[in-house]
Symmetry: C2
Subunit: 418 residues, 2 copies
């Protein structure tokens, strides 16, 4: 048996998984607070769902195959096509604007590298049915809330906002024909880190004007002004700035686009999104305006590690019950009872010697040892805070309904031990 996952895939042992969960929890909490409802779709879809949106070029990056029913299928590389399919089939049942989010697992056959895997998780938030840029402001505020719940602030990240319609007008003004625009936009998208010479080379006579735009000499469009105002009203003004260098490579964006970057500029984009008013119609759905973003777990985790706000915990229970062999039934009853009351409780099922059980309790990282010795026959138990070795006695008794009462109960232990 091979001991490793496939190249580009990840095993999440309990410490790494607890870090991943803290990311998921922040994403879900920010979504909930912002009024987004969660949905999920299949991880395997018809291949044509992807080729229809992105053309055949995407196939090179897909995990696709023929299933046993002779269907051409693919592991989803992104959530938007599934989202579009689901919105098309049920949007009539939902009041607009629809605010949905998801935390899908996505698959791409790419060269694995730092912060880029063949399988990753992504927070997807979308709003459908709202034409005004209030939607963009709301989406940006939601992602800022998510990042702040993870311990990041405006000093750590920046939301760079740009406007595809501004670029549209810019290109038209400088004589670029409609049919050539997508190509020029793709070129612009790939200029990050280029030298002025390289830009001159690739953009020809446009280069000088682009240079000016990059240096912020273009005034914000009306749309950008309104987005900045909305984001500021919602409390995230300091997180946001106009940066026309952001164009987003994907062909389907139609208006405001944005990317989240680390302030130091060391990593790839943490998140990206924008307005895609034509896509839902193109994918066979209704003609509905839409704004959305995606935020992957991998680059985000890199950033959180760098800022030392991502904690890897081994897990394990808070309370560990240690018992004499003769008291095993009482010990198990205590375990069952405390768990039903909401506490996380463990014990040594092999029931080794007293000292060995205590050793397991410490090795597993429990905070409390609840000691069930001979004195338990007289209603007395020992309580030990394992790290400080403080110890005291507590009382147990059986109520009329057979439930076991502890005095003090676990919620009071920290206070009592002091």
């Amino acid at each position: 048996m091979t001991g490793q996952p496939l190249p580009g895939f990840r095993d999440f042992f309990p410490p790494e998984h607890s870090a991943l969960r803290s990311i998921f929890e922040a994403w879900r909490e920010a979504s909930r607070r912002s009024g987004f409802s969660e949905y999920e779709g299949p991880e395997l879809e018809s291949l044509e769902l992807y080729t229809e949106k992105s053309g055949d070029e995407i196939v090179a990056q897909l995990y696709h195959f023929k299933d046993k029913g002779d269907r051409e299928v693919a592991l989803r590389p992104e959530m938007t096509p599934t989202f579009a399919r689901m919105v098309a089939s049920q949007h009539r049942n939902y009041r607009k604007p629809i605010k949905w989010f998801s935390v899908p697992r996505l698959f791409r056959y790419e060269r694995p590298q730092r912060g880029r895997h063949r399988e990753h998780y992504q927070w997807n938030c979308d709003m459908v049915g709202e034409k005004s840029v209030a939607a963009e402001a709301e989406l940006i505020a939601t992602l800022c809330l998510g990042l702040s719940l993870l311990g990041l602030g405006a000093n750590d990240v920046v939301v760079k906002v740009s406007d595809r319609s501004w670029w549209d007008a810019f290109l038209a003004k400088h004589g670029v024909e409609e049919k050539d625009k997508p190509g020029v936009l793709r070129t612009l998208d790939k200029l990050e880190g280029s030298t002025p010479e390289q830009r001159k080379d690739k953009l020809g006579k446009l280069a000088g004007f682009v240079e000016e735009a990059w240096q912020g000499q273009g005034a914000d469009s009306e749309a950008l002004k309104a987005v900045h105002q909305g984001v500021k009203d919602l409390g995230y003004g300091g997180w946001c700035e106009t940066d026309l260098r952001v164009v987003r490579g994907l062909a389907y964006y139609t208006g405001v686009v944005f990317e989240v970057h680390d302030r130091a500029g060391k990593l790839r984009a943490v998140a990206g999104g924008g307005r895609y008013d034509d896509l839902l119609k193109k994918l066979g759905g209704e003609d509905l305006p839409a704004v959305g973003f995606g935020m992957g777990d991998a680059v985000l985790a890199e950033l959180l590690k760098e800022k030392k706000v991502l904690l890897e915990k081994k897990g394990g229970a808070e309370i560990f019950v240690v018992a004499e062999k003769a008291e095993k039934s009482l010990a198990l009853a205590l375990v069952g009872q405390m768990r039903r009351n909401g506490w996380s409780v463990d014990y040594d099922p092999g029931a080794g010697k007293w000292g060995k059980q205590l050793e397991v309790a410490e090795a597993k990282g429990a905070r409390w040892g609840l000691l069930v010795g001979r004195e338990s026959a007289e209603g007395r138990l020992g309580l030990k805070e394992l790290a400080t070795r403080k110890q005291l006695e507590i009382r147990w008794s059986r109520a009329a309904d057979e439930n076991i009462c502890l005095e003090p109960n676990p919620g009071e232990w920290a206070k009592v031990v002091g």
Copy 2:
């Protein structure tokens, strides 16, 4: 674009997803309280990881293909091989017994039917490194806790416990040779719902003895007695009974096995598991004893729906801010502030007329409407409980740190409105 998922796959719109999440939350909470730590692995693995454990016959049920790097890969049909691979690679870093759980998504190319899909979620709990049947009792108690957190009790479900070693001894006693045992066990596993005649037909001279065993005339083995005692001590005695008809088809079980069924016996098994002491070694890992169970989401959801304890909610925010156009900035500031304080808050980004905003608030199922009208300039806001139409006035002010204070704050609204 096809509006439907592939056959056997499911879309989870917000109501269905909220039902699914309540299942996940119960699984995770029961695991946490019972001292299990979460892990996760890749959904795509080497094909040989599955053929090594289950032989080539499993391939007929797999989604497998050659990836762009010419590797034979498969979507995972179960978690145990990944779990075994991960345990083998890191078990030395963890104190035994290892208690890990996962909530993987699994894929099988099967005929879709009620409660059986081509893609489903499964709660997997495993304990590694414990020889005594205290492990079985702990696993059974954990799954009972999970079911009880979902609102099910011993009147709804039964944990049927059996013992493969008992059957081993039984078959030996009746002259079945070692090499024929797996075949006979598989036959026994498929006798559910058969007539005595059919059993005679399939089992020959064994039939009479099997009949006696089925009718509970065999005494519990020592292992079964100890499991029942442990489960009873942990508080779930009423959930559990010996039923030797349970044998579990899979070849790798070595001792106690168990299945959870609905008491009415109408559905397929809700969960199944048992001891598999030889499997980790066979899969190239260490020689470690292990017990585990799996519980799928599909049959469980059927049962919860039948018992009417599975709630589908549309989601949506609790508080909806309704504002005059002139007060938009203040309204957004209130939205941002309340969200940062942990409340779920929504508003109409299109900012239609007052009446339309209230209508959206109601359509989206908000409990509270926070009304920001002209009186807000004097520090006054309206608060409306939308379902009861009760309305009262509350105060807002800006603190020195620019934060907005509400009086009373949202935590007190229910009490104040009464």
